[in-house]
Amino acid sequence: MILIRCPWCGQRDAGEFHYSGETTPRPDPASATAQEWRDYLYFPANPRGQVTETWYHRMGCRKFFTLQRDTDTNESRPVGGPQ
């Protein structure tokens, strides 16, 4: 079983969460070019190793939070938040 620590609710089964992808800065809608939007939407870095991601605790507190995860071992820890 893969466990993920929600910064508000603590350690929970990964099935409670929704993965929202790598945390990357959203382009400014007022000035972004089509290419910048495409890079943002379709071209994540997809590294093997440490990655900073956004997850959503859909079956818990329903908050979005930042998670630092190793995509090789699935070990992870939340970044920020109370815990």
Binding site: G15, R38, P44, V51
Partner: protein, 150 residues
């Protein structure tokens, strides 16, 4: 198990496919992890969920025992469809990104790629799967084809 299943059965709503080898073993295909991962490990949750879906499709298999499970890397593209055809590099063609349905679509994709190589351009059937579609914003709505994992 005595051979009883000649075709591959795929269920889009159950996210499962069932195939039988000539030796009688049943092969169940499943889904991808719901997040990016390179771990290539199976898990109890995964096999439990898959077994549940198989039994919804074929309840008679409830006494069958599991021999093994394995996991690999699924090369998923942003629209879950493969990338096929020429690239900006002359003489370098790709047929990649098959994600969860490569071995079902392999034969026909081979035929299309052979045609592509012979003619020097993509045949109509694979035109929409070109590498340039991501830059052009023309993604393929192909989720129904694989029927699993999306």
């Amino acid at each position: 198990v005595q051979p009883f299943l000649a075709p591959v059965i795929v269920s889009g709503s159950l996210h499962v496919y069932v195939s039988q080898t000539d030796r009688g073993e049943l092969v169940f295909g499943a889904s991808v992890d719901p997040f990016t991962s390179y771990s290539m490990r199976g898990s109890l949750e995964f096999i439990e969920g898959l077994a549940g879906h198989v039994l919804e499709l074929m309840p008679a298999l409830s006494k069958v025992r599991v021999l093994r499970q394995w996991a690999g890397l699924c090369d998923m593209t942003p629209d879950f469809s493969p990338v096929m055809g020429p690239t900006p590099v002359g003489g370098f063609l790709v047929d990649v990104g098959w994600g969860t349905y490569g071995f079902k679509a392999g034969p026909v994709s081979g035929e299309a790629m052979a045609r592509c190589i012979a003619d020097g351009r993509a045949p109509e059937i694979i035109e929409a799967f070109g590498l340039g579609r991501f830059g052009a914003g023309e993604l393929v709505g192909e989720k129904g084809a694989a029927a699993v994992g999306h």
